[in-house]
Symmetry: C2
């Protein structure tokens, strides 16, 4: 059985890749409940000039067309924003693992109220990475979440 | 001044293009409040095998990186699903024009409760097009909204 830590490590690796590319260091991956990887990705705003590619939407895209998401798990290094929370709700993704809800809090409580199983890890390394990024790049971060 | 009908016509043209490509006939466009087109697009599930590209997310993507969405208008031929409603909420898009909320009802009331100006047109031609598509392609339609 795959542990939550193993799943989160894939998202964290995606965040690292994004950071190395000069992008916003948020990563995500979509797995089946039994730990099979369907898709992984990271925020592409800087790299592709693509405002629509948050980590979660990029992982969802990489997973291709799926007939059901009920038995899937979205693992993300950062609490999913409303855009990505809406994705989880619309497609009925059954579970979300959040690496860090201290640097940013999106719609995870709303998802839990709607029956999604939400697990918050609050990994110190992820919190430190995201906190440093927000501190060093406030304009880019605010742009990514639509804050003026 | 650009009328709502003129804005909706751009989204409707995108829906037509999508249908001609053999795709799901939903179109959208993002405008400034004073009618300048920022981006337009349509559902790309069939054409690109891309589950992440709903009409609204495709139009949002085509608009590129924007610093503020407060004075923008998302025009869509169909009521935005939760994924696309989450997009509108997260990025603070100020207004949504819905061409049809009879074939499908997404998160538009939730958006209105959160201060988004929502205008519903219910254009008979759009309702007829979407109704026929759902009738003729129930599996594809259900896949696009995550229904099993």
């Amino acid at each position: 059985m795959t542990t939550d830590a193993e799943l989160l490590a894939v998202a964290a690796e995606e965040a690292r890749i994004g950071a190395e590319e000069g992008g916003i260091p948020i990563g995500a991956a979509l797995f089946t409940r039994d730990g099979r990887l369907l898709g992984r990705g990271h925020n592409r705003r800087v790299q592709d000039g693509d405002a629509s590619m948050h980590a979660e939407t990029n992982a969802f895209r990489a997973a291709g067309r799926q007939r059901s998401y009920r038995d899937t798990v979205m693992v993300t290094t950062l609490s999913p924003c409303w855009y990505c929370s809406g994705l989880v709700k619309q497609f009925g993704i059954g579970r979300v693992i959040v690496g860090d809800d201290q640097s940013f809090l999106g719609g995870q409580h709303w998802l839990a109220e709607h029956g999604v199983e939400v697990t918050v890890v609050n990994d110190p390394a992820l919190i430190a990475t995201m906190g440093a990024f927000i501190h060093d790049h406030p304009d880019l971060w605010n742009e990514d979440i639509g804050e003026e």
